[in-house]
Symmetry: C2
Subunit: 284 residues, 2 copies
């Protein structure tokens, strides 16, 4: 099995590295070709244009930023796609984009999985991502060795689009937990509580959560450079808003977080980790 | 060392049981005497009135509901308090109430710790609570064998009141995480995602948290009878609102949750677990 990885950002580059460690990685691709060339040189793999990846590889994983990027990549892969190839999209996009991409790849004789991930840059680096997969079960079995190279958990959620639907739910939790932890720690800070005692104490009880454990100490040191850029969560929540509006469920956290992250972006903090939300919590 | 436990509710009764298992429990007390008598019979300990507990025990732990209850108990203990006795309050009350209780007990020749807990009824039952302690370090060392009977973690946060300050922060996280998880799972439910796949998938990534793991499946089955009564979190958040107002930090989650839980209480759901918040999330 020859696998490729397209999109070598903060998530994609370490994910490609895990594929390489498992002996599965044949090629890498990236919008900025120089980054693909550099990683290809480092790992001893190829960095052809997308048409070359499409004709050579059995499993093609991608992790890019926006809906239009996903469609752009699958349209570039389709004309030369190897028959029976599986394209696995790890990006966070809308279920409709997943379905459109699946049609393009299906028409080209391949199969498609929408397979967004959760677990942050830590999860990508240590190969412990949670992968939420939409598509046919048999296609997932074909792609499973690739996914398991960087996953702690691979869950088949249902047909194409259900991976993205699951990720939409995930992002509501991520945004809401960020609201909770930043509002709480801003209060703890104002009350003069010692961060080194406060964070593990909170984490050991009913308030325990991933975000507190991974980002609590750094946010209280005003370190926002590592993690998940808040402009990207803002982009995701724009997708989630539409999904929740169609579903008719409550959007309190979604709307509050869209407004908060938009404000931070307007103040120049779009590249901060989402824990940068604490900037808005320190003053009422 | 003879220990007593006062306040035998959903948290207190199992905590007293752990003290008994460690051979430390000499007496129990409760506002409804019949409940104290029943547990005392079952465990083979005493159930005297508070004056009798005060004169006989070295460490007196209490876990009651409201600020007035704490002051009532310490005022009843003070006149006959054994010299050097330590009173440990596990209730969630204001830092000011903790300081007032500490003065009453100090004037009576004893020492006081504010030591609220987190970890839910599960944590109380399996002896894995997180205890956040305010008071003198030497007093905490005296009381430590009692606390460790039901704690996974005991953290000294600072002087009297800092345990309650920490608990205030904890309750902001608890309320905000409840907002996040209920809004997210209401969306997942509306999208038709399978709960048995959704909850562990979310839990394995950056959205992972205690509340999702413990209450996700039950709330999607509309089971709200086990856990933390939302009327009690509403009471706690009333205290937290004042603390955060004094501190000048943001109160978005606090105010939203106070309004939401008040609405549920007005609809007759005050005894539901806080996951009952999902009732408000299913329709926008």
């Amino acid at each position: 099995m020859k696998a490729a990885f397209i999109g070598l950002g903060a998530m994609g580059a370490p994910m490609a590295g895990h594929l390489h460690a498992k002996g599965l990685l044949a090629a890498v691709g990236n919008r900025t070709q120089a980054r693909a060339d550099a990683l290809a040189d480092e790992l001893g793999v190829q960095a052809p244009h997308l048409a070359g990846i499409a004709s050579a590889c059995d499993i093609i994983a991608l992790c890019v930023s926006a809906d239009a990027d996903v469609i752009g990549v699958v349209e570039a892969l389709a004309p030369t796609l190897k028959k029976g190839a599986v394209v696995v999209d790890h990006s966070t996009v809308s279920p409709d984009t997943a379905k459109k991409a699946a049609r393009i790849i299906g028409d080209a004789g391949g199969a498609f999985l929408d397979a967004p991930v959760s677990g942050g840059v830590e999860g990508a680096k240590n190969g412990k991502l949670s992968v939420m997969v939409g598509g046919e079960a048999s296609v997932l079995e074909t792609a499973r060795p690739v996914l398991e190279a960087y996953a702690a958990r691979v869950t088949h959620m249902g047909p194409v689009g259900s991976g993205q639907a699951t990720k939409a739910v995930n992002q509501v939790l991520v945004a809401g937990i960020a609201q909770a932890v930043t509002e709480g720690l801003a209060l703890g800070e104002a009350l003069g509580l010692d961060a080194d005692r406060l964070i593990p104490t909170l984490g050991a009880g009913a308030a325990g959560n991933w975000f507190l454990e991974k980002r609590g100490a750094t946010m209280l040191r005003n370190e926002f450079s590592v993690g998940f850029k808040l402009a990207l969560l803002h982009k995701d929540l724009g997708i989630v808003r539409g999904i929740a509006a169609d579903a008719g469920t409550d959007r309190t956290i979604i709307e509050q977080s869209l407004a908060d992250f938009a404000q931070l972006m307007s103040e120049g903090y779009g590249d901060d980790d989402i824990s940068g939300l604490i900037r808005l919590k320190r003053k009422s």
